[in-house]
């Protein structure tokens, strides 16, 4: 499949899953599952930062429209897109990334994926709740929300990864 079509389909699927399934799940304890960071994570290595931020902005806009958050998701996703190349460079191999590989756990190893995605998702989630609550007096609550939501979203991302991985192996 053409790589552009593949990512367009992923964009639509991730946006709809987030808007219609994960936004409607009210678990309690301030847990808010987010899968749209995984979409940004899985975009190809060679994509430059500026288009990456543009895509993140679009994705955030769609999610914000569906969840009445007026720009919170957009801001957090653009931040994540901005930081992605920096984190990739820091944890990447010395000779650079293989352009044939994708930033998934099966191409790059689960250790690398857990480290990089964990860091990016953590920063994204922290920024999201920091802006949403916007009160330093309640820093503990921000941290609690970040850890609970970020942790569960991370597990969810691993699950979705395994689905994508399985469908690839069948082909």
């Amino acid at each position: 499949m053409n790589i552009v079509y593949k990512h367009i389909i992923r964009f639509v699927v991730f946006a709809f899953l987030q808007a219609l399934v994960f936004n409607q799940l009210n678990i309690g304890f301030g847990i808010h599952l987010m899968i749209q960071p995984l979409f940004i994570m899985l975009l190809p290595f060679e994509l430059a930062v500026i288009p990456l931020m543009g895509i993140a902005f679009l994705m955030g806009l769609v999610i914000d429209i569906f969840s009445n958050t007026f720009g919170l998701n957009t801001s957090a996703l653009v931040l994540m897109a901005y930081l992605r190349p920096i984190v990739f460079k820091f944890y990447g191999p010395r000779e650079g990334y293989d352009p044939l590989k994708e930033p998934t756990s099966q191409d790059m190893g689960s250790n690398w994926f857990a480290l990089v995605y964990g860091l990016l998702l953590g920063l994204h989630t922290f920024w999201f709740f920091l802006l949403e609550i916007f009160e330093l007096g309640r820093f503990g609550f921000i941290l609690q929300k970040t850890i609970l939501s970020g942790g569960l979203s991370f597990l969810l991302a691993l699950l979705i990864q395994s689905f994508i991985l399985n469908s690839k192996q069948k082909k």
Binding site: Q24, N26, I31, G60, I65, E132, I133
Partner: protein
């Protein structure tokens, strides 16, 4: 020759001045371009962030357009499909609730009551006049986990919905209409940080007035502020709307007092309440239309302003 050379020198020095001026602007432009190129990524990042955050900040204070919320056509269509799919999940529970509500009102209808004095016939009641009408609505999109939660309703300006109308469900208060488009509207619920609905806490001697607040943590619990701590509040005393602002009628349930504790340094109670309604599974709500609201606001506009 000498004169000529001096003349030449003069023109030469003049042109170098011009040139140097041109060079400095050129250098400045080149530096600016280099700067922009160097920080291009950061500048794009900053612009996108400013766009997103200004949207967030302006929308929280006043809604300007409907295109960037669930009130636009495409998002609403998708949410309607989703709602069509999931609305039957709580059907039997909702029906039971509606049945109980019907029984409650049927018991209070005069025409179903036994008439004790047969001589009198009630023709037209001139003592009571209807002040509120209610518009039924369904919640088609909701959240409870954010620090400001908005619900989308399937009624809009076509049904007479306006900004500032109250919304409640059978169990209790839900919120206030924040924005109404042609066929849909957005409710600012009690699960937002600055909702400030005026309420009364029932106590034996008198009703204690206060305002609802929500701290963004648990969708089952809220707080009431502005209660003086010289009065005792019993646990599980009822909290109902006061009806002073004309948004809600008097006496719509809000919740029950679950915990009180004194605020340090102030003569006030911190009152925690358990909300009467469970906002996690809310489907059918009523929008309140106050028939006297224009009269009330016109009258209250006559209060002289203090400068």
């Amino acid at each position: 020759m000498v004169e000529k050379s001096s003349l030449n020198e003069g023109t030469h020095s003049h042109s170098t001045e011009k040139k140097s001026g041109r060079i400095t602007t050129f250098v400045f432009m080149r530096n600016l371009i280099a700067f922009l190129q160097r920080f291009r990524i950061f500048l794009v990042f900053a612009v996108l962030q400013i766009l997103a955050l200004s949207w967030y900040v302006t929308y929280l204070s006043f809604p300007r357009n409907q295109y960037l919320t669930t009130n636009n056509n495409i998002a609403i269509q998708v949410l309607e499909w989703e709602h069509d799919l999931t609305k039957h999940f709580n059907l039997s529970k909702n029906n039971t609730q509606l049945q109980w509500e019907n029984i409650y009102w049927r018991k209070r209808q005069p025409k179903f009551m036994y008439q004790l004095s047969r001589g009198k016939v009630k023709i037209n009641d001139t003592i009571f006049e209807q002040q509120y009408t209610y518009i039924p609505a369904e919640v088609i999109n909701s959240s409870i986990d954010r620090s400001n939660n908005y619900f989308t309703l399937n009624v809009g300006r076509a049904q007479g919905i306006k900004r500032g109308m109250g919304v409640f469900c059978q169990e209790g208060v839900v919120g206030v209409i924040h924005y109404a488009s042609a066929h849909y509207s957005l409710v600012k619920t009690v699960l937002t940080e600055d909702i400030n609905i005026d309420v009364n806490i029932h106590s034996k001697k008198s009703d204690l007035p206060g305002f609802i607040k929500w701290d963004g943590k648990n969708a089952r619990y809220g707080t009431v502020t502005g209660i003086n701590n010289d009065l005792r509040i019993k646990k599980w005393s009822k909290v109902v709307t006061r009806g002073g602002s004309g948004i809600f009628p008097k006496g719509i349930p809000v919740g029950k007092v679950s915990h009180t504790e004194p605020i340090e340094g102030q003569a006030l109670w911190k009152v925690d309440i358990l909300f009467a309604a469970d906002y996690r599974r809310l489907q059918r709500v009523y929008v309140i239309k106050n028939l006297h609201i224009a009269e009330q606001t016109a009258l209250e506009a006559r209060i002289p302003e203090e400068d």
